[in-house]
């Protein structure tokens, strides 16, 4: 199963990933704030295709994308 990992401390809560994920799999947390005080983005699904669009658009390189290897 492919997914993304968001580095909580790198994320600045800009919501750019949220806006560009073609499947709208990311949302802004309404409770989670990091040490710098930013409300952060979180992954909310398991249907990620590892298209990496979110990561490519993330200005802070906060997103790592992993893909399930084909067997």
């Amino acid at each position: 199963m492919s997914t993304i990992y968001i580095d909580k401390e790198l994320c600045k809560g800009c919501a750019v990933c949220v806006s560009f994920c073609p499947l709208k799999l990311i949302n802004m947390s309404d409770h989670d704030v990091n040490a710098s005080g930013y409300a952060i983005a979180e992954m909310n699904s398991d249907s990620c295709t590892a298209c990496a669009i979110c990561a490519m658009m993330c200005p802070d390189s906060a997103i790592t994308v992993v893909k399930e290897d084909k067997k």
Partner: protein
């Protein structure tokens, strides 16, 4: 499981200090990824401008110089002439490159200096708090054009078009990072600008239309839309020189 995308090793571990959603960060990534792809690690000298990207000396994983406002092309000339085998790049904002540093970029381009310039056009002075830039759009409000840029403040300068009149440059392009498709194109242009240097083709510059959500008083996503809908009208994307 394999990693499809992660932070480039040509970026350091230091978190970027740009405002949330500022596309300086995207461009940093593209430059870093390019350096990685052309195997330049351990062979690069970068130049940070005066502007929001001044801290770039903390972010790129290579030797870096920070130079006076607008003078990056002069600095790069000094470095590259004395180190012709190294990959040298200057990263500059619009105020830096197209206002105070006009003479330096024009002449580096005219000489055809063999280095690469990444020019971040965000139509504003970000670092100093949102003053008018040479690229500010007509009608755009800034702290020094409070009634909108008007007749007495002149028209935006199109640096890339201007440099295209010179014989020196080998590659000049304008790209944007307003959406994934454009980010991909931007990456290609930046890569070409560096490959040209490797191949000794001379001066290459990529202008990147970029955002400043903070001083535009927009959300990051609104700002990306503004680039797409407004800025590209005044600053058409495309390759302006390639030889």
């Amino acid at each position: 499981m394999s990693v499809v995308y992660k932070k480039s090793k040509m970026l350091t571990n230091v978190p970027l200090n740009y405002c949330p959603g500022c596309t300086h960060g995207i461009v940093h990534k593209l430059v870093a990824e390019t350096l990685e792809e052309i195997n330049a690690e351990g062979n690069v000298i970068g130049i940070a401008p005066v502007g929001c990207a001044v801290f770039a000396y903390d972010f790129f994983n290579c030797d870096m110089q920070q130079v006076a406002h607008g003078r990056a092309p002069a600095c790069a000339t000094g470095i590259k002439r004395c180190n012709p085998d190294k990959i040298v790049f200057a990263y500059q904002g619009d105020g830096d490159i197209a206002s105070i540093g006009t003479a330096e970029i024009v002449h580096a381009a005219a000489r055809g200096e063999n280095f690469t310039v990444v020019f971040i056009n965000n139509a504003i002075y970000g670092m100093t708090g949102g003053q008018m830039a040479p690229t500010t759009l007509v009608g755009q409000k800034t702290t020094t054009s409070p009634f909108g840029r008007g007749k007495m403040q002149g028209n935006p300068i199109k640096l890339t078009e201007m440099l295209a009149t010179l014989d020196g440059p080998s590659y000049l392009a304008r790209v944007s990072v307003s959406d994934p498709a454009n980010v991909r194109k931007a990456k290609k242009a930046i890569k070409k600008a560096f490959e040209n240097q490797v191949n000794g083709k001379g001066f290459s510059m990529v202008e990147v239309l970029s955002t400043c959500p903070t001083n535009w008083h927009m959300t990051p996503v609104q700002a990306l839309d503004f680039v797409k809908n407004e800025m590209t009208k005044v600053f058409p994307l495309g390759v302006y020189k390639d030889c």
